[in-house]
């Protein structure tokens, strides 16, 4: 009988203490993100390392660094990247492989990051963009090199065979 009453009292007391916790949380600041309203601050405060979308950086002269070597395409586990190259004859008469189209299918990308890790030119990188919703699947297939862009002339031209050499940083060596 005494145990019965004791259990009853201690049980009710524990229940009340539990209710106290929820009441404390009732007054705590709320964690919900009000997304479209806080869009500006959200976009500004995105972690710079967030893998949102693969992009190819272009400088102000509309030049990119991609040589079209295709290492990223080879490394992609999902065949998300397709590189179309064309042959171009330079002024001194050499034929050279240049990038025609860099096709990237956001819809099948797993964001594993192998492409950016292996790129010998560091031509592609991640952009912390999370607003990917579109209406058609075809809209997810993106051409990363801007129209009319060309490869930036580099002082030290890095040949396409670069990854086979032992490079300076660890990134280049993993394939």
């Amino acid at each position: 009988m005494i145990k019965y009453i004791k259990d009853l009292v201690s049980g009710s007391w524990a229940l009340l203490k539990g209710m106290r916790i929820t009441m404390i949380n009732f007054w705590r600041p709320k964690v919900t993100e009000q997304y479209p309203e806080n869009r500006e601050t959200k976009l500004q405060n995105m972690c710079e390392r967030f893998r949102g979308e693969l992009v190819m950086e272009h400088n102000e002269k509309n030049e990119h660094k991609c040589t079209g070597c295709g290492i990223c395409q080879m490394n992609c586990p999902n065949h998300t990247i397709k590189i179309v190259t064309r042959q171009e004859t330079t002024e001194d008469g050499k034929t050279k492989k240049v990038l025609d189209k860099y096709m990237y299918d956001l819809g099948s990308c797993t964001f594993c990051g192998l492409c950016t890790q292996v790129c010998p030119q560091k031509a592609i990188s991640w952009k912390p963009n999370f607003e990917h919703a579109v209406f058609r699947r075809s809209q997810l297939e993106k051409q990363l090199n801007q129209p009319g862009s060309k490869m930036a002339e580099k002082k030290v031209a890095a040949p396409a065979a670069a990854p086979k050499k032992e490079g300076e940083t660890g990134d280049k060596k993993v394939q």
Binding site: A14, L15, N25, R49, R51, P77
Partner: protein, 545 residues
């Protein structure tokens, strides 16, 4: 180990031993298998860690990784191999009566390779549909959607409730017998595959009497993606991303296992800085995973508020991940030879802020839920799993430790920086639901303790070793265990020296957890089944692979 070799020699005189392997590896004839297995079990090798089917092209075989639940030495693993050259009707004697978990492992090997285990009581497929044609992991399997079209009709219940079993007659021919899984008068409730509390697409065929459970038959494979098969056509760095799609709640730990296996095979030395960072990340993942486990269990018991609190606090860990690694759930941080990039400058501070916050929150969890008489009353008197059952079914991790089995790989075979930190392996003796519940919250505290010891002492230096551009593992077999949040996660790689593996096998800790449902829930109520499955905290993609 030498005397074990002699012991096996006496049991099976024809046994061949491999030299220089990671573990003591023996190849024996199928006829001698049961004798050796029984002998090993008598010598204390009672934990069948992993059972891998293999296609050696000219023969089909099975590899058993056997360990002891009470290792006298640091890590005792014996590898048994056996194979048969008959590809039409490959028959290997079953070991399901010696190690109980083999009941399911052998079904998996049958499903993938068509190896028939003689006298196995239940030779159904484990993952694929009953009407699947062929055995997809065989090297001569032809992928063809005319042979296996996308099914458009529901199979006949009689079809998938038929349980075949095979035995040998006097002439040595296989004889097939079929019985039905359930009888007509049984009251069967299908819990899943679409059910709020199966934690994924698990299908439990539950035989009921009123609300009392009489038998549970788990049905897997709804999220089977053939990850192991996919791995066979990928290079080693490409494989890494698939590990996070196994048990998505402890992605970093699974990835750690595969990375370590590759590093060990290729002889890559991982820098100390990367080891420390990996350890911290593993422990953060463990906290996040246990938080989800706690939260989902509370949700299963009807306390949705506790669920949201757990998710809210896990979010903080996700933010820490995002800042350093660039991903939230699929962290993609470990690479072969180290970690993808150095830690973010804010990382140390954020982790240090997180530790006291988490400790305070655990206090709240205890007040809100642990000490609640309703919750405690429900948890304390049901779902018991004895240590013997846990070992027989290979239930490792927090669930195994709740039954009193000291099975923490971090202690048995320390890896990364675990030998440099002090932490306690939490052990409970009861084996009940409440023990499993408590052990998770206690392990969060231990993880915080590990992080606290490491976070200020991350050594300077590279966070990534130099690795060759194309990783080729030397021919051989490699096995690596890690302790993920659900138990003993194992990676088995068989390499022929190519840039692709010949065979990859992931040892899923969750499969054992689900198989333990049947002994634990029999004679309990439906509400208890939901709660017990919450306390086991399994993740289905890890089972189905």
């Amino acid at each position: 180990m030498d005397n074990m070799q002699k012991y096996i020699q006496t049991l099976a005189p024809k046994a061949q031993f491999e030299e220089g392997g990671q573990y003591l590896t023996t190849t024996i004839e199928p006829d001698a298998l049961r004798k050796v297995a029984t002998g090993l079990k008598e010598k204390g090798f009672d934990y069948l860690m992993c059972l891998t089917g293999m296609d050696y092209k000219e023969s089909l075989g099975v590899i058993y990784h056997i360990s002891s639940s009470n290792p006298k030495e640091k890590e005792t693993v014996i590898v048994l191999k056996t194979s048969t050259t008959n590809r039409e009707e490959p028959a290997i004697p079953t070991v399901s009566d010696i190690w109980e978990i083999a009941t399911y492992y052998e079904r998996e090997a049958y499903d993938f390779y068509g190896i028939i285990f003689v006298n196995h009581p239940d030779m159904r497929r484990l993952f694929l549909r009953e009407d699947w044609v062929g055995f997809p992991f065989r090297k001569d399997y032809v992928v063809n959607d005319e042979i296996n079209p996308v099914p458009t009709k529901v199979p006949d219940p009689d079809d998938y409730e038929a349980v075949p079993s095979y035995s040998l007659n006097k002439e040595g021919k296989l004889v097939k017998k079929t019985k039905s899984l359930f009888e007509n008068k049984d009251y069967i409730v299908n819990i899943g595959p679409q059910h709020p509390s199966t934690h994924g697409v698990l299908h439990l065929r539950t035989k009921l009497e009123g609300e009392i459970i009489k038998h549970i038959d788990p049905h897997f494979g709804y999220i089977h993606r053939g990850i192991e098969k996919m791995c066979e056509s990928m290079t080693y760095p490409q494989m890494l991303y698939l590990t996070e799609r196994l048990d998505y709640l402890c992605g970093t730990m699974n990835r750690h296992g595969l990375c370590m296996c590759i590093e060990k095979a290729a002889g890559i030395e991982v820098p100390a800085r990367a080891q420390y960072i990996r350890t911290i990340f593993d422990e953060l993942t463990r906290i996040a995973s246990h938080l989800i486990g706690w939260a989902c269990m509370c949700n299963d018991m009807g306390s949705i508020t506790a669920f949201i609190y757990g998710m809210r606090d896990r979010e903080k860990i996700m933010d820490i991940y995002e800042e350093t690694a660039g991903g939230r759930l699929m962290v993609n941080y470990y690479v072969v030879g180290g970690v993808a990039q150095d830690i973010h400058p804010n990382f140390v501070n954020r982790v240090k802020e997180f530790i006291p916050y988490m400790r305070k929150m655990i206090e709240e969890y205890h007040t809100l839920f642990t000490h609640n008489p309703i919750a405690a009353g429900r948890m304390k008197d049901c779902g018991f799993l004895t240590k013997e059952q846990a070992v027989a079914l290979g239930v490792t991790g927090p669930s195994g430790r709740a039954s009193g089995w000291s099975c923490d790989v971090r202690k048995i075979a320390p890896y990364a920086a675990y030998d440099k930190v002090k932490f306690d392996e939490m052990l409970h003796q009861g084996g009940g639901t409440f023990d499993r519940y408590m052990i998770r919250l206690e392990e969060i505290e231990q993880s915080l303790r590990i992080i606290e010891q490491l976070i200020d002492n991350i050594p300077e230096g590279d966070c990534r070793a130099k690795v060759p551009a194309i990783i080729k593992l030397p021919a051989g077999e490699y096995y690596q265990r890690v302790e993920n949040a659900r138990g003993d996660f194992g990676v088995y790689i068989n390499s022929t020296g190519d840039k692709n593996p010949y065979r990859v096998k992931f040892r899923s800790p969750c499969l054992s957890l689900v198989t333990a449902l049947d002994p634990m829930c029999t004679e309990q109520k439906i509400a208890d089944l939901i709660m017990i499955s919450g306390s086991l905290d399994y993740v289905i993609p890890c089972i189905d692979r």
